[in-house]
Symmetry: C2
């Protein structure tokens, strides 16, 4: 009985010693989810300045049919081109968020929505994509997009 | 003078205490580069069994124009379809390898080579892609592909 009591005490201490870690991870996950929601918004608003705020300065944007845009100025230019060509209305579904060490995480998403091609005025209401985001925690605790690759899942 | 000597001793100890970490990281990077070289080989050999060995069991393969293949059996099926449709002869150029914590790393590559479409027999000798690999260290110290997204950088 005494041993059982001891074991209870030890387990309780162990449990509470683990709580701050679990909490930290949970809070990181929530912060990352908020960044993803912000990304969805700035994308749908064709807001280049808003996009730029969400990337690390050394970020890389890997959009299909374009060379990788490396660094924040190249990313800015790439999104300017994207928003000139198309108007998006999409929703991201977060499939996975996983923290990797203290300062990194990845997010895997699927997105669905519409793309309007500004040159022709044509609209595709059934545009589906898959996305892989690599997120980095900056010195002030903000999570930003460090690397981002995506592609269409619509059949060719 | 005595203080300067003390400082030299402290710095030397600090430097040597950091060496194993630097070495470990370097060795991880080399191991990851070997996995990428293996991936290039199995891809060019249309070797499904070889591909499967390079992925984690919970891996995800994100190929354009297909839904994400989640888990090793789905990955196996996806590569079977790929190798039935096309015959690859490509080289990967590793642009970045970065370890993220102890058990994760990412690799960013560009690839160039030829794709032969088996149905038509047509060949594209100027096929260019960009790739983002998320690598995970398994329990026995092997690095495997955990998530992998890519897209063509050829103009649409």
């Amino acid at each position: 009985m005494k041993n059982r009591f001891k074991s209870l005490i030890v387990n309780t201490i162990l449990l509470f010693s683990m709580l701050p870690l679990a909490h930290a991870d949970n809070s990181n996950t929530k912060k990352i989810q908020v960044v993803l929601k912000s990304y969805e918004q700035v994308l749908n608003n064709s807001d280049v300045a808003g996009v730029v705020k969400l990337y690390t300065t050394d970020g890389v944007f890997m959009a299909p049919h374009h060379p990788s845009a490396v660094g924040i100025r190249a990313i800015e230019g790439a999104y300017k081109s994207v928003f000139k060509a198309i108007d998006l209305d999409v929703r991201f579904d977060i499939v996975e968020v996983e923290t990797l060490g203290d300062d990194w995480a990845f997010v895997r998403t699927n997105s669905a929505g519409s793309i309007k091609f500004n040159a022709s005025g044509k609209k595709n209401d059934k545009s589906y994509h898959q996305e892989l985001f690599l997120m980095k925690k900056t010195a002030n605790g903000d999570w930003k997009i460090a690397r981002y690759a995506f592609s269409s899942t619509n059949p060719r």
